[in-house]
C-alpha cells in the first residue's frame, strides 16, 4: 500500500501536533531541568495542570493532607486561604441553613480526604435517603441509555482501542505493548552500553525494527502476527494509515488518538522528539529516528497484539467497541467496574463469575443486584462523609434538614470547590512565601564605601550560592554578585584527553566559539592503574569474557566494594593517589590566524602519526624521524604516492605499507575530508580581542560591577561531586548545560586579565585598575569547598594576600557546610553538627556510592531576585533564592534586564517547575525512587529492568521520609527597578510576558525610587505598599 504524498504529509503533521504537549527529554549526561508541562505553557497555569492531568494522569497539586500539614507548620497563610474561600463562595448560590464559608473552610482545614469522589450510581436523592436513614427508599432502576453514554465517555472517547479492550476484558495488551516497544527502543537507541548492537540502525528506527520484527522469534512464539501488518506498507506513514483504517477510527480523531498513544511512554517520546531536533547530536545523525517512526512501531505492535485477543466476543475496532457497549450495556458496565478495580468488593467474585461465563441471563441478574448494592454503598459512604464533615463544622444536624434540591446544590458546590482547592492552597502558600521574602528586604539607599572590599566574588545565580555568599560576606570584607553560571560566555570546550566538544552554555544556546584545553606540564606516561582500568572496561564490554573474569579477578572487585562501602572517604582518597595528579593546563582562547591553524593541524596530525607508528608498528622513538612522519602525512593526505623508501623506513613490504597508510586514513582520520573539518573547527577556536572585551564588559555591566574593583575578583563557577549517581549532571551548573562551570570561569578570568582587553574596555568607559586580578575558582556544592584555579597565573604581588583569601574561603565553606548539613542529616540530639563534623560529612557524602542524596541540589527553590545585593543581604533566604545581580542605573535601555529575563529567568522557571511537579506527583512527573533505577542506553534511567524513561527528579531530591521537602510554589520573581523600566522589559521579552500573564511565574517589581511594590495578579498590575506585615489578598481564580 503506497500512500499519496499529501496523505503522508498530513499524517506527519498530525504526529507533530500530537507530540507537542510532550516535553523534551535531554540525555542525562547533561541533565537539563525542564518544565514537564512545557508544551502547555501557552495555556494558563490552571488549565495546563488540568490538561496535564488528562494526558499524563499526573496530579497538579499536593493532597489536601499535605497542605494541612503545611498549614500547621506555618508555611501557609490562613488569612489568604480564608479570603480565597470567601471569594469562591461569592460565586456560588447559597444553601439554606449552611454557612458555606465556615463549612468549606472546615472542609479544607479539618477534613483529610476529599468528599466528592464521583458517584456512578447514587444520585442526590439516594444520598438524601441515606442521610435520613431511609436507604431502602433508594431507586432501584437504571437508565440504560444514560449508562451507555457514560460508558462511551469512559471507555470509548479518544482512548486507544486496546486500552478500551484492556479495561473491559482484563487483557494486558497495553503492558505487553509497552514492554515490546521499550525493548526495541533500548536496542535501537543504545549509546554504547550494550556490547551487541541492533543491526541496520543506520536505516532509521522504523526500517531497522521492521527488518528484525519479521524474523523475531519472540514475537513468533507469542503468536503475534506482525508480518501481515508490515507487509501492507514499507513506510511508517503507510503503516500508521493502515492500522488506523483497520481500527476504523475516524480521521478527525487521529491527532488525539496519536497523542494518547505517545503519552503512554512520554519519556521515550520526549527523548525521540529532542533527538530528532538536535542537529549536532552524533547518535541522532548516525541512527535517525523521529516520532512518526516511533508511532508506526507502536501502532503496528498494538494492532498485532489486539488481533491476538480479538475473538467472537472481544471487539477489534472502534465501531465494534461502540456496538458492544450499546448492545451489552449491562455486561460492559460490569466488566468496566471489575477490570478497572472499582467493583464493590463483596460482589467481586460474583461479577467475575458472571462476566467469565458470558451468560446473558446470569449477567442480567448479577447486574441488577450489583447496581442496587453499588447505589446503596455510594449513597451511604457519601452520607457518612457528609455527616463527618458536618460534625467537624459543628452543624451536622443541618444536613438532615436539607431538601433534595438544597443537598444537590451543596454537593455541586463541594465538587466545584474541591476541583479549585488546589489553587487556593497554592496561592495561600505563595502569599506566605512572599511575606517571608519581603519582610527582610533592605530598601534603604546603599551607603557609599570608603574603601574597596578585600575581594569581590561572582557566583552563579544558583540557589546553592546564596548560603556561601552570605557566609563569605559575614566573615570578612567580601562583596558578592550573582551572575549566570556561564558568566555570559557561551563556549564549546575541547578538554584535554577528550575527543568531543562539550557545550558550556544554556541548553537553548549553541556556542559559536571553541576553547581548547592544552597541556602545560609536558608529556605524561599513562599510569599502570589507568591501563588496568582501560583493560577492565574492555573486558566488561565483551559478552563472554566476564564469565571467566569473575573467577579470575572477582576478588579485586570485592576489595573495591568493601572499601567504597565501609570507608568511602578514606578509600576514595587512597584511590586518587594511584592516579597521576591532574596536569597543569592552559586554555587556548585567542583567535587563530590561518597560519597558526594550519600549523596546529599539522602538529596534531604529526602527533597522531607518531602514536600510530609506535602503537601499530612498534618502532622505537629514534627511528620515527621528522622526515618519516612528514612522508606518512603527505601520503595519507594523498599529496604523494607511497614509495619504496617509505616502506623501507617502516621495515614493511609495500602491501603492508599501503595497508598502514589506509589505516592512517580510516582509523586515525589523517585524510583530506577530516582535515577540512578540523580546519573549520580550528577556525571556531577562540575569541577576537573585541569579542573578549565585549563579553567581559557585558558581564560586568549586567551585574552592576563597573567601578570600585577590589584586588581580587573571583569568578566562582560551580560543580558537584558524587558517586554512583545517574543524576550527577543535575547537580552541576544548569547554565553550563549540566556541566561544571570551571571552564567558563577560567575563560572569563583569562580574558579579563589581558591588558589589551582592559584597554578596549577603558575606551568604552569601564576602567579596571591594573592591580585587579581576576581569579577563577570552583565551588563544589556537595562539599562547599571553594578551590582557586590557575594559581600560577596570579601575579606575585597578590600572593601575599592569598593566604587571607584562602582562610576566608575556607571559613565560609565550613560555615556553609554546617548550615547545610543540618538539613541533610538532622542531629539525633537536636543540636546540629559543628563545622568540623559537617565538613567531614559533606566530604563523605561526595564519595559514598551508597548515598542516594549527596546534596539537596536546588530543592526548596522559591525565589528569583533581580537586583542589587544590598536588597537581600540581610535576608537569610536559606538557600531558596536565585540571586541575579542587577543595577538598573547602568542599564538605561533595559538590554541587560531583558537579557537576564530571556536567559537566567527562563532557566530558573524550568528548574522551579520541574521541582514543583516532581514534588506534587513524584510517580508521574518525577522519576520515583532512585533505588530502583537502572541506567538505560547511557542516556536515561528506567525503573526496574523495563519501564518508560523516567523524567523529572527522583524522590530523594524532593521528598524526605515520604513527605515533601521541596515546597511546591511557582517561582516568585522580584525585580528591583523603576516600575516602568521593569514592566517594559517584561513586555519586551515574549516568553516571560507569556509566563507572567499565564500565571507560571509570580512577578513582583520593587521600585527603589518610590518604594512601591507592584504585583502582577489577575491579569493586571496591582500596587501594594510595603508595610512591615505584608499580606496579599488572593482571590479564588488565577
Amino acid at each position: 500500500m503506497s500512500l499519496a504524498l499529501d496523505r503522508k504529509l498530513k499524517i506527519r503533521a498530525m504526529v507533530y501536533v500530537a507530540g507537542e504537549p510532550i516535553p523534551y527529554f535531554w540525555p542525562m549526561r547533561n541533565f537539563i531541568h525542564h518544565n514537564p508541562l512545557h508544551g502547555l505553557e501557552k495555556l494558563p497555569f490552571v488549565q495546563a495542570v488540568e490538561k496535564g492531568q488528562a494526558l499524563f494522569h499526573g496530579r497538579g497539586f499536593l493532597p489536601r493532607k499535605t497542605y494541612q500539614r503545611f498549614l500547621q507548620e506555618g508555611k501557609i497563610d490562613r488569612a489568604s486561604l480564608l479570603a480565597g474561600v470567601q471569594d469562591f463562595v461569592a460565586t456560588r448560590s447559597s444553601v439554606p441553613g449552611v454557612d458555606l464559608s465556615h463549612w468549606l473552610m472546615t472542609l479544607l482545614t479539618q477534613v483529610a480526604e476529599p468528599l466528592s469522589k464521583a458517584c456512578v450510581m447514587a444520585g442526590t436523592r439516594d444520598v438524601h435517603h441515606a442521610l435520613n436513614g431511609k436507604l431502602s427508599e433508594c431507586a432501584s432502576s437504571v437508565d440504560m441509555a444514560e449508562l451507555s453514554a457514560w460508558l462511551h465517555e469512559k471507555v470509548d472517547g479518544a482512548r486507544p482501542i486496546y486500552e478500551a479492550v484492556d479495561t473491559l476484558f482484563g487483557t494486558h495488551i497495553g503492558t505487553t505493548l509497552d514492554d515490546l516497544l521499550i525493548k526495541s527502543c533500548l536496542d535501537f537507541f543504545d549509546e554504547g552500553q550494550s556490547a551487541w548492537t541492533m543491526p541496520g540502525r543506520e536505516s532509521g528506527l522504523f526500517n531497522a525494527w521492521r527488518e528484525l520484527s519479521r524474523r523475531n522469534v519472540r514475537l513468533f512464539l507469542r503468536g503475534v502476527n506482525i508480518s501481515q501488518i508490515l507487509a501492507q506498507s514499507s513506510t511508517p506513514e503507510g503503516v500508521i494509515a493502515y492500522v488506523m483504517d483497520t481500527l476504523a477510527v475516524p480521521e478527525a480523531r487521529w491527532a488525539d488518538y496519536f497523542s494518547r498513544e505517545l503519552v503512554h511512554l512520554h519519556g521515550w517520546a520526549g527523548f525521540i522528539r529532542w533527538r530528532s531536533n538536535a542537529k549536532h547530536y552524533y547518535w541522532g545523525q548516525h541512527y535517525p529516528a523521529d516520532l512518526v517512526d516511533f508511532l508506526a512501531v507502536r501502532l503496528a505492535l498494538g494492532l498485532a497484539l489486539l488481533k491476538e485477543e480479538t475473538g467472537s466476543n472481544v471487539p477489534g475496532s472502534a465501531p465494534e467497541l461502540a456496538q458492544f457497549i450499546d448492545a451489552h450495556t449491562a455486561e460492559a458496565f460490569l466488566r468496566y467496574e471489575f477490570y478497572s478495580g472499582n467493583v464493590v468488593p463483596q460482589l467481586a467474585a460474583k461479577v467475575e463469575d458472571a462476566v467469565l461465563r458470558g451468560n446473558q441471563s446470569i449477567i442480567s441478574h448479577v447486574f441488577t443486584a450489583y447496581v442496587e448494592r453499588k447505589r446503596a454503598d455510594e449513597a451511604m459512604l457519601l452520607a457518612q462523609r457528609l455527616h463527618a464533615w458536618g460534625t467537624q463544622a459543628s452543624a451536622a444536624f443541618r444536613l438532615t434538614s436539607l431538601s433534595v434540591e438544597a443537598l444537590d446544590s451543596l454537593l455541586a458546590t463541594v465538587q466545584a470547590f474541591e476541583q479549585a482547592e488546589g489553587m487556593l492552597w497554592l496561592r495561600a502558600m505563595e502569599a506566605r512565601a512572599m511575606q517571608v521574602l519581603l519582610r527582610d528586604l533592605d530598601v534603604t539607599p546603599p551607603i557609599p564605601r570608603d574603601k574597596r572590599p578585600f575581594a569581590q566574588a561572582l557566583f552563579c545565580i544558583d540557589t546553592r550560592s546564596e548560603r556561601i555568599r552570605r557566609q563569605l560576606e559575614h566573615i570578612g570584607d567580601y562583596q558578592t554578585y550573582g551572575i549566570a553560571g556561564f558568566f555570559g560566555v557561551p563556549i564549546g570546550i575541547l578538554e584535554l584527553g577528550k575527543g568531543s566538544e562539550t557545550h558550556l552554555c544554556p541548553a537553548v544556546v549553541t556556542p559559536k566559539n571553541l576553547v581548547l584545553e592544552m597541556n602545560a606540564s609536558g608529556p605524561v606516561d599513562e599510569s599502570v592503574v589507568g591501563v588496568f582500568e582501560h583493560a577492565l572496561h574492555e573486558l566488561k564490554n565483551s559478552v563472554l569474557a566476564p564469565f571467566a573474569a569473575v573467577e579470575a579477578i572477582g576478588l579485586l572487585f570485592g576489595f573495591d566494594m568493601i572499601g567504597k562501602t565501609i570507608m568511602p572517604l578514606a578509600y576514595s582518597r587512597w584511590r586518587r593517589k594511584l592516579f597521576p595528579a591532574k596536569q597543569m593546563t592552559r586554555l587556548l582562547l585567542d583567535k587563530l590566524g590561518r597560519e597558526q591553524a594550519d600549523s596546529i593541524l599539522r602538529a596534531v596530525q604529526r602527533a597522531v602519526i607518531v602514536k600510530a607508528v609506535e602503537h601499530e608498528l612498534g618502532l622505537p622513538p629514534e627511528r620515527i624521524t621528522d622526515d618519516l612522519v612528514r612522508q606518512l602525512r603527505e601520503t595519507a593526505l594523498t599529496n604523494q604516492l607511497p614509495s619504496d623508501e617509505l616502506a623501507h623506513q617502516l621495515s614493511l613490504e609495500m602491501a603492508a605499507c599501503n595497508a598502514f597508510v589506509t589505516r592512517l586514513r580510516d582509523a586515525y582520520r589523517i585524510n583530506r575530508r577530516f582535515s577540512r573539518l578540523q580546519f573549520e573547527r580550528l577556525g571556531r577556536i577562540g575569541f577576537t580581542t573585541n569579542e573578549q572585551a565585549h563579553l567581559l564588559g557585558q558581564a560586568l555591566r549586567s551585574i552592576g560591577l563597573v567601578e570600585h574593583f577590589s584586588r581580587f575578583v573571583l569568578l566562582v563557577g560551580h560543580g558537584s561531586t558524587s558517586e554512583n549517581n545517574p543524576y550527577e549532571s543535575a547537580l552541576d551548573c544548569g547554565a553550563c548545560g549540566g556541566n561544571s562551570g570551571i571552564f567558563n570561569a577560567r575563560t572569563l578570568a583569562q580574558m579579563a586579565n589581558k591588558s589589551e582587553v582592559r584597554r578596549r574596555l577603558r575606551e568604552q568607559g569601564l576602567d579596571i585598575p591594573a592591580d585587579v586580578c581576576f581569579v577563577a575558582a570552583l565551588h563544589n556544592t556537595t562539599t562547599d569547598e571553594i578551590t582557586i584555579l590557575d594559581r600560577e597565573l596570579i601575579p606575585p604581588a597578590h600572593l601575599i594576600y592569598l593566604e587571607r583569601l584562602h582562610k576566608g574561603l575556607k571559613a565560609a565553606s565550613r560555615l556553609c557546610a554546617q548550615e547545610r548539613m543540618a538539613t541533610l542529616v538532622p542531629s539525633d540530639t537536636g543540636v546540629p553538627p559543628d563545622a568540623n563534623a559537617s565538613s567531614r560529612l559533606a566530604l563523605r557524602n561526595a564519595s559514598d556510592w551508597s548515598q542516594a542524596r549527596p546534596e539537596w541540589g536546588l530543592s526548596r527553590n522559591a525565589y528569583f531576585v533581580i537586583g542589587r545585593r544590598q536588597l537581600t543581604q540581610r535576608a537569610g533566604l536559606a538557600g531558596r533564592a536565585f540571586l541575579n545581580s542587577y543595577d538598573w542605573r547602568v542599564d538605561p535601555k533595559r538590554r541587560l534586564l531583558e537579557s537576564i529575563l530571556t536567559g537566567p529567568l527562563v532557566v530558573g522557571q524550568w528548574i522551579n517547575m520541574e521541582h514543583y511537579f516532581s514534588t506534587v506527583d513524584n510517580e508521574r512527573y518525577g522519576s520515583g525512587n532512585k533505588a530502583y533505577h537502572n541506567v538505560a542506553g547511557r542516556f536515561g534511567v528506567m525503573t526496574g529492568n523495563l519501564s518508560d524513561l523516567r523524567t523529572g527528579l527522583p524522590a530523594q531530591t524532593v521528598l524526605k521520609d515520604g513527605h515533601p521537602y521541596h515546597e511546591p510554589l511557582r517561582l516568585i520573581t522580584l525585580i528591583e527597578a523603576p516600575f516602568e523600566h521593569a514592566r517594559s522589559a517584561i513586555e519586551g521579552v515574549v516568553t516571560i510576558k507569556r509566563l507572567v500573564q499565564n500565571g507560571w511565574i509570580r512577578m513582583l517589581v520593587l521600585d527603589p525610587e518610590t518604594r512601591a511594590l507592584h504585583l502582577y495578579d489577575h491579569g493586571a498590575w496591582q500596587q501594594v505598599d510595603l508595610p512591615d506585615a505584608f499580606v496579599l489578598e488572593p482571590t479564588g481564580s488565577d
Binding site: 480526604e113 476529599p114 478495580g341 467493583v343 468488593p345 463483596q346 467481586a348 467474585a349 467475575e352 510517580e923
Partner: protein, 254 residues
C-alpha cells in the same frame, strides 16, 4: 454398595467431578468457624468411610486423584477470591490422599496426613475474615499495596499462604512429604508438579494483595499487635508440633 461407598469417598476425598460438591459447599458456608470445622472434618469423613466399609479401591483411583489434584492446582492460578482459592487447594491436597489410600497406607498415617493438610488450610481460612473486615472482600487485585499500608496483616497473610502451600516446616509440608515417600517415581513427579503449581498460585494470589499502589482513599486499621503475636505464635506452634510429630513417624515414611 461398593459403588456407593466409592462415590461417597470420592466426595469426601475429592475426586473430579465429585470434587465440585466440595468446592460448591465450601463456597457457600458463611461462618469462619464452620469452615474451619469442615476443613478439618471433610477428609476424615472420607477416610472413615474408606476404612469402615473396607471398600475395594481401584488402582486407577490413585492416578485419578493425582489428576484431580493437578487440575485444581492449575485452576488455582487464575483465582483471586481467597476463599475459593482455599477450597481449591484443599480439593487438590485431599485428592492426593488417594495415593496413600490405594497403596494401602495405615489409617493412622493417612489421618495424620489429612490433619496435616487441614491444619494448614485452617490457618489460611482464619485470615479470610481479617481481610473481609478491612477490605470488604478477601479478593486479590482490588486493594494492592497492603505491604505498605497494612504490614502486619500482609505478614500474616503471607505466612498463612505459605503454610497452605506446604512450605517447610508447616504441617502440610510433612503431609506432602509423606505422600511423596509412598509414591512411585512417576507419581512423585506428578506430585512435585502439583506442589510447583501451588507455589505459583500462591505467588499470583499474593501479587494481588501485597505490592502496588494503595488505591483506596483511607487505610483501615491494621491487625493489633496482640493479634499479630498470637497469629505468629500459633503458626510457630503448629510448625513445631508438625515437626515433632513427623519425626515420631506419625505422618508416615518421611
Amino acid at each position: 454398595m461398593a459403588i456407593l461407598s466409592l462415590l461417597a469417598i470420592g466426595i469426601f476425598l475429592p475426586l473430579f467431578p465429585l470434587s465440585m460438591v466440595w468446592t460448591a459447599f465450601f463456597k457457600y458456608v458463611p461462618w469462619a468457624w464452620l469452615r474451619a470445622l469442615i476443613l478439618l472434618a471433610w477428609p476424615q469423613i472420607g477416610l472413615t468411610i474408606a476404612f469402615s466399609t473396607h471398600a475395594q479401591l481401584p488402582q486407577w483411583a490413585a492416578g485419578w486423584g493425582l489428576l484431580t489434584a493437578a487440575l485444581y492446582a492449575l485452576r488455582m492460578l487464575t483465582l483471586r477470591d481467597f476463599s475459593t482459592w482455599i477450597a481449591f487447594i484443599a480439593a487438590s491436597a485431599f485428592a492426593l490422599l488417594w495415593i496413600g489410600l490405594v497403596n494401602g497406607n495405615s489409617e493412622a498415617v493417612l489421618r495424620f496426613q489429612g490433619l496435616g493438610f487441614s491444619a494448614s488450610f485452617i490457618i489460611a481460612a482464619a485470615v479470610v475474615p481479617m481481610l473481609k473486615n478491612r477490605l470488604g472482600a478477601a479478593y486479590g487485585g482490588l486493594h494492592c499495596g497492603m505491604v505498605q499500608r497494612l504490614p502486619r496483616l500482609a505478614g500474616v497473610l503471607v505466612l498463612a499462604v505459605l503454610a497452605a502451600t506446604a512450605t517447610p516446616l508447616f504441617p502440610s509440608f510433612f503431609a506432602l512429604m509423606a505422600v511423596l515417600s509412598e509414591a512411585s517415581f512417576m507419581t512423585a513427579v506428578g506430585v512435585l508438579m502439583v506442589w510447583l503449581l501451588w507455589s505459583w498460585a500462591a505467588v499470583r494470589l499474593l501479587q494481588g494483595f501485597l505490592p502496588g499502589v494503595w488505591s483506596r482513599a483511607q487505610t483501615p486499621p491494621d491487625l493489633s499487635l496482640r493479634t499479630t503475636w498470637l497469629s505468629g505464635l500459633g503458626l510457630v506452634t503448629l510448625a513445631g508440633a508438625a515437626t515433632v510429630l513427623s519425626s515420631m513417624g506419625f505422618t508416615g515414611g518421611w
